[in-house]
Amino acid sequence: MLLFLAVVAAISGWWLSQQRLTSKPWLEEGVQGDFPGTGASSLPAAKLGLGVFLAVVGSLFALLISAYLMRVSTTSLNILDGPKLPGPRLLWFNTGMLVLSSVALQWAWLQARRRQMDGVRVNLLVAAVSALAFVAGQLLVWRQLTQSGYFLTSSPANSFFYLLTGVHGLHVLGGLAALGRTIARAWPGVATEPMRLGVELCAIYWHFLLLIWLVVFSLVMGWADDFADICRALIT
């Protein structure tokens, strides 16, 4: 969480430093230069809105993950790893699907900028299908786990696993709704400004979710244990 906050602080600090905070408004009157610029950025509002929203989503996952790490580090591990979760092979496949989805969207964005509408449509569809495959795969993982006796309530480790993957899956589904709208917009085959913006926003959102998934994945696979050890050392 502190890491995440540091990133947010760095971004807002950089932004603030661009804003002439040291200006002395009481001495300035009338126009600066000929026409007063507001200092508003040239980004479309929707893109900025998505950026702020991603900060909120990032905060959400950073908190979930720090809750998990705290849980791991404040008490001895033996309760948590009770029956340690197996990292099902299916998770690798799912990760691949999400990467594919992200790449396809990036591709679609590039083609949208070049106005190659056929490619945009194909890539959007590929992205949607592979994202759906990811969600379906995650559900399959859940099924496999429950069948082999790792229930939601069996241990806190299991609970965290289901919670993290569940919340992430819901965000993918939400993204799919937006992607559906973008596909509908792209279908007429005309490169319009809102369509291109939609593709771009979807791509950014997908990359972000992929990043979060990679972090969650590494936690689940136990690669982040060293990091958890560091946290534990810091707290105790």
Partner: protein, 597 residues
């Protein structure tokens, strides 16, 4: 979107945005009920918040009746008392203050003050209100649920919050958590609007450092809320899982009524960390808009530029940043590591520095000013005094060694009511008296307003000053009744009766306010466009109340900051932000001054 790019790389929005960008309501329903106009949404937010606030007010009466006259009222049971405490706290902090400052004042003032036609995402803004209303309704529903609302205290500490024996553990707690989740989703939609509108919606000439402090306060508070509310969201979802699905995020293995429960392996402390990671920024989410509004009220009604505008902006931002690293000062008694406690005590005390800067600047703004003791000004002054009072006891409680003995006493109750109960509420009132003429076109009644102020202000001190003393002699908080306790003198009971009477009177004074609010709608004196002779943009709209789209045909252009009061040589004692420099006689001198710098 038509945009003109200027040499310096800055982008200036066109004077007129294409008409399609603005949503136009076609039917009565979309104009006044499912409205996407920020001004209507603001009024909806405010009315809902005040309505649920009246519920919380009545709950506080019930609590005081019990404390003042224990055992007299058969309808107040011990369970009921805890439910009153919980709902009173939750409603006041989240559903009243947060919603009113950000949803009410934010929605109304941000677009008008920065010179925008509306919020940038009006549809999400509308959803935000309806989710808020739904959250309030779910909260109200919990009062009528079997077993009543939750009585776990507003902090909802596990494990007791979801265990049998706590009132409302059956349905109340589930509805409470659902309501919070809805509120947070709704707030996020609104919050995105407030932030992006401030960043992108400003009109020509409105640089960040020309924005009124009200906008700065609301903007910073919204950014904080967007980052802090996820903590409550995560915590609420996890507790909901614990309660309904039987997970053990917060639940250690425990024995209840001689039975081993199915829980095990969870950590109750984890909840405290998550809750207070939200909970402390929440204090400033309420306080920063109040700071901003008070700065503007004082400046307008003292006819003087706010002292140290730049410092005020910096202080707001610094307070916002610091408030994320102080949360554990609510947890000194949780048995934390001493070094941890030391760290959080230091950060807590550091916040006093920017806060003190703000207080000095308010006082210095009043120095040699042309003070008009209007009703909004009275409330603003009341805020400054009350906030200093509450802040000073905060310095006591910020220290670990002082906090430990006082933590469970009425001293804490007195402290947080002063600093984040009474003080922000005074600003809410001041703000309503100040902007009511803009919202409705009519003034609120002055005499009723002054009566309301004096009873509320003096009454609040009659309630909360004695509580400090009660806390110091050891009267515990959260107790349904004190019973026979050796160390508590008889006089404490008399004092409790006095506090209860004061609370009843102050509560009744709020009815005067509500009466005034409604009556002035029909009978108030017509206000005109700018009754306070204020400079900021919301007073310069072509119509009052502002029409849909706020600014007639063309957006205003801003030539100066929001605090040009009593400028020497100017024909009036205020110069509106959108008045071009050519019209000012003092133009030459001012240019000379700025050239000298």
């Amino acid at each position: 979107m038509g945009e003109v790019i200027f040499g310096s790389g800055g982008v200036v929005p066109a004077a007129e945005l294409p008409d399609v960008e603005l949503y136009h309501a076609k039917t009565w329903i979309t104009k006044y009920v499912f409205s996407q106009d920020a001004k209507v949404i603001a009024v909806q937010y405010s009315i809902t918040a005040m309505a649920i606030g009246v519920v919380a007010l009545v709950l506080s009466w019930l609590m005081r009746l019990q404390l003042g006259f224990p055992g007299t009222f058969s309808f107040i049971s011990a369970e009921g008392y805890y439910q009153f405490i919980t709902m009173h706290g939750m409603i006041m902090v989240i559903y009243l203050l947060t919603a009113l400052f950000l949803g009410g004042f934010g929605n109304y003032l941000i677009p008008l003050m920065v010179g925008a036609r509306d919020m940038v995402f009006p549809y999400a803004n509308m959803l935000s209100y309806w989710l808020y209303l739904l959250a309030v309704l779910v909260l109200v529903a919990s009062i009528f649920a079997p077993g009543g609302p939750t009585g776990a205290g507003w902090t909802l500490y596990p494990p007791q919050a979801i265990l049998g024996g706590t009132p409302g553990a059956e349905a109340g707690i589930i509805l409470m958590l659902l309501s919070l989740i809805l509120f947070i989703i709704g707030f996020t939609m609104g919050g995105l609007n407030y932030v992006v509108t401030v960043l992108q919606g400003r009109t020509r000439g409105m640089t960040l450092m020309r924005m009124p402090l009200t906008v700065w306060g609301i903007f910073t508070a919204t950014v904080m809320a967007l980052l802090a509310f996820p903590a409550l969201f995560v915590a609420a979802v996890m507790m909901l899982f614990d309660r309904t699905l039987g997970t053990s995020f917060f639940m250690p293995s425990l024995v209840s009524m001689g039975e081993h429960l199915k829980y095990g392996g969870g950590s109750p402390i984890l909840w405290q960390h998550l809750f207070w990671f939200f909970g402390h920024p929440e204090v400033y989410i309420v306080a920063l808009p109040a700071f901003g509004i008070v700065s503007d009220l004082i400046s307008v009604h003292a006819r003087k530029a706010i002292f140290g505008y730049r410092m005020m902006v910096w202080a707001i931002v610094i307070i916002g940043a610091l408030s994320f690293v102080v949360w554990a000062h609510h947890m000194y008694v949780s048995g934390m590591n001493l070094n941890f406690g030391f760290f959080f005590a230091v950060t807590t005390l550091i916040i006093a520095v920017p806060t003190a800067i703000k207080v000095y600047n308010w006082v210095l703004t009043l120095w040699h000013a042309d003070i008009h003791l209007t009703v909004p000004m009275l409330f603003a002054l009341g805020f400054v005094v009350t906030f200093v009072n509450g802040g000073l006891t905060g310095l006591f409680l910020g220290n670990v060694v002082v906090d430990l003995p006082l933590s469970a006493t009425m001293f804490v109750v007195a402290h947080f009511h002063m600093v984040m109960g009474v003080a922000p509420i005074l600003v809410v009132f001041g703000g309503i008296y100040h902007w009511y003429p803009k919202v409705t076109g009519r003034m609120m009644d002055d005499r009723l307003g002054k009566l309301h102020f004096w009873v509320t202000f003096l009454g609040a001190y009659a309630i909360f000053f004695p509580m400090h003393y009660l806390g110091l002699i050891g009267v515990p908080r959260r107790y349904y009744e004190l019973g026979e306790t050796a160390f508590i003198p008889k006089s404490a009971e008399t004092l409790n009766v006095f506090i209860t009477l004061a609370a009843l009177i102050v509560g009744a004074a709020q009815m005067v306010f509500l009466f005034n609010l409604v009556r002035s709608l029909f009978n108030g004196r017509l206000a005109g466009g700018n009754p306070w002779n204020a400079t900021s943009l919301e007073w310069q709209t072509p119509e009052t109340p502002p029409a849909h789209g706020n600014w007639g045909k063309e957006l205003p252009v801003v030539y100066r900051w929001a605090y040009d009061y009593s400028v020497p040589g100017a024909e009036r004692d205020f110069i509106p932000q959108n008045q071009p420099p050519a019209g000012v006689a003092a133009q030459a001198t001012i240019t000379a001054v700025s050239a000298a710098h």
